[in-house]
Structures are given as structure tokens and as C-alpha cells.
Symmetry: C2
Subunit: 193 residues, 2 copies
DNA sequence: TAAAATCGTTCACTTAAGTTAAGAAATGGT
DNA sequence: ACCATTTCTTAACTTAAGTGAACGATTTTA
């Protein structure tokens, strides 16, 4: 499992054995059962997550209704906005599947960055990449219809459609579960006719 | 004008006179007239922008139609995704108003980061903050209706509604110009009735 | 394994956005 | 100052998403 993390890191910086051991000594690898809530609305936290196996989701609860805004699967990292802004969390994070996740906290990261400056570089590059990637995702969302968004998702993350409940997918696409059902039926109809 | 930039930077790291002079010697301050196109679709670039005065927008052209996805105003920074991914740009950038902007390129930044490691730290923090901020914006967009988005914008960036053409605002809100007109009329109607 | 809860789909109806077109208002260029 | 262009609004019609309700299928859990 550790190798997955180190393979990921090696795409950005090369680590010595000492550095690897320093990371391992932090004891950041954790398993969670499906449904486990990692973060609740209103809670303060300094934790960031990196998914090694499984899937986690972020969701808001508005008028008693869950609004899912993101899914993180294998080799994806999540630092909740509340960690950056140092305010209580506005959303929940929970496990869609049994998952193996590294959990680190920002004090730890400050310490590691101080000891190993190359970490600072990796964090900067990672943040810049994620920012650019997320910008593209946001732009695609804005400029397309729910149907186009669904077809786009089918292309880019077909696994999500299999492993995630439809009603969570629907709010991820910005629509209601019933509309997603209808939209899928519409697409099938087009393909036949 | 330079002071605006240094005031902004001072929120993240403190610079010596030497460091300030190093930045000034790069000659990054530029003025552009309203309508100037800074970047075109298909073009390769290494340039990042920081708006000191004025307003720039990013937009895609889909089937001959402009789709505006973002506005950047005073003290806001933009590194186009294509700079990070090193691919041709998928969108245009142009000036909504006469603007004063610092234009830097990524080779310059690599050099500055090498000379002054504190820049690396600032870039990391800035990227992390922007990532968190953009995540919140994306989530708000996903979880609200066009009407809610408009009312939200009225709260958070009332200046934009004044300084930007309605049809550009409309696509920024993910709808057509006619729908924005109608939606505004609907809101006025509610306030009276 | 039986009862309860969650999940996915369908339907009828409502609401709002997309489309096409027209015209008024504002802006820009010469 | 005038003409051309762009911008904004309105209207009638079409299309698709929201809503509330029902029902079977699946999953959970007691």
C-alpha cells in the first residue's frame, strides 16, 4: 500500500530512504468502512486526505437534503477548504466504499516542509495542477447541459457511474435523481430510434 | 502602481529592498486597452496575469458562440490551465476594461523561485488558497439555481454586475442572456408583489 | 429471514430555461 | 452627427428540469 503513495510522489520529487522512513513514521495509513463519516459540517479540522483505495465524497446538507459536490477515488487528494481558511467545515466527507486513505494534518505538513524543502516544491506543483484541472472541470460544467455533463462523465470517469449511487451522481451533475433517470431513458431512446 | 503588487505580496511573505528591485527589473507592468485579446484559443503561452486595475475575462468559443467562464478584477491572479499543462490554450482571455496588469512567464518564475525560496512558499500558499476558494465557488454553483446564483453574485461581487455586459454575465451564470433578462424581471416582480 | 430503509424508475403536473425573432437603447467609429 | 454594431429586453413557443407521489427492487439491520 505504501508503494502506491511513493509511486505517486515520485512523479513530482525523488525521495531518499531517509525521507521515505520519515513519512512512514508519521503513521498516516488508515482503513475506513463504507459509510464512515470523516468530517462533519461545523467541525474544525486540519486533516487532508489521499485516497489509496476506495472512494470518498463531499456533500452539503441543505434543508435536510444531501448535495454531493465531489468524489475522490484512487490517487486523488483532498484538502478541505476549511483547513485552508481555518474555519468550521461547511460540508461532510464520507466513504462511498470501504477505503484505504492516508490522513495527514497541516501541522505535520508544515514540519515536513521545514525538514524537507523538496516537499514544499511538490505541494506547490500539486496545488497548481489541481487548480488548473478543477478550473477546466468548472468551465465544462458551466458551459454544458445536464445531458452533456452526464455523457462527458461517461467518457471521463465511467467507473464512477458504476460505483456510486444514482442519487448522489445526480446532485454531482447538478440535477435531481428523477431527472437523471429521465435523462438516461432519453439517451437510450435516442440510440434506438 | 508597484505598491499595489508589493502590498499584495506582503500578505504572504516580507520582501527585502533587493528582492523588490529584482522583481521591478523584470519589467512586468503593462497597460492594455479595453477589448485587447491577451490569449487566443490554440495559442501556446507561459504567461500568468495579475490584475492591478481593470477587469479581464476568460471565454471559450463554442459553435461561434462566446461562453464566458470567469472574470478577474483588482488583486486577482490568473495562471491559465494551458501554462500548467503545457498544451495549447482552450480559451481566450481579453480585457473587459482598460486594465493595468502584471504579466510574468513561467521561466521567470522558476528563476525567481530558485533565487528566492520564499517565493516558492508564497506560490504554494496562494495556490492552496485559490484552490479552496474555487472549490467553494464550484460547489455553490452546483448546488444552486440560476436565480440563486444571480442573487449570490449580487451579494458577493456587486461591482461585476455594473461593469460587465449582461450577456457575458449570463454565460458566467450558466444561462442565456434572454434568460438573465427574464430572471431579473421576475425578481423585480416578486419584490413589488 | 422478515421488516424496514434506501434506491431507482415512472408518471402527471408545474416551473423555468432554451430558441427564434423583433425592436428599442446604448455604444463606437468615422 | 450619423450610421453600424452591439447590447438589452420582450414575447411566443419548445424543451427539459423540478415536484410530489407511487411502486417495485435492492440493501440493511434487527
Amino acid at each position: 500500500m505504501q508503494d502506491l503513495l511513493f509511486d505517486f510522489i515520485s512523479k513530482y520529487v525523488s525521495l531518499t530512504e531517509d525521507e521515505k522512513n520519515a513519512i512512514l513514521s508519521l503513521d498516516i495509513f488508515h482503513s475506513f468502512r463504507k459509510g464512515t463519516v470523516l468530517l462533519k459540517e461545523g467541525q474544525k479540522t486540519k486533516e487532508s486526505y489521499f485516497v489509496l483505495k476506495g472512494c470518498i465524497r463531499t456533500y452539503y446538507v441543505v434543508d435536510g437534503e444531501e448535495k454531493t459536490t465531489a468524489f475522490y477515488t484512487e490517487m486523488e487528494a483532498l484538502t478541505p477548504p476549511c483547513v485552508v481558511s481555518k474555519t468550521p467545515s461547511e460540508y461532510y466527507i464520507s466513504c462511498v466504499e470501504d477505503s484505504i486513505i492516508t490522513v495527514s494534518n497541516s501541522d505535520m505538513e508544515v514540519e515536513v516542509n521545514r525538514k524537507f524543502p523538496k516537499f514544499e516544491v511538490m505541494c506547490r506543483i500539486l496545488s497548481e495542477e489541481l487548480l488548473a484541472k478543477q478550473r477546466i472541470d468548472f468551465d465544462e460544467f458551466k458551459t454544458s447541459s445536464p445531458e452533456q455533463r452526464y455523457l462527458n462523465l461517461l467518457q471521463k470517469r465511467p467507473d464512477l457511474i458504476q460505483r456510486v449511487p444514482q442519487h448522489q451522481l445526480a446532485s454531482y451533475l447538478g440535477i435531481k435523481a428523477q431527472s437523471l433517470s429521465r435523462l438516461r431513458a432519453r439517451i437510450l431512446e435516442k440510440r434506438k430510434g
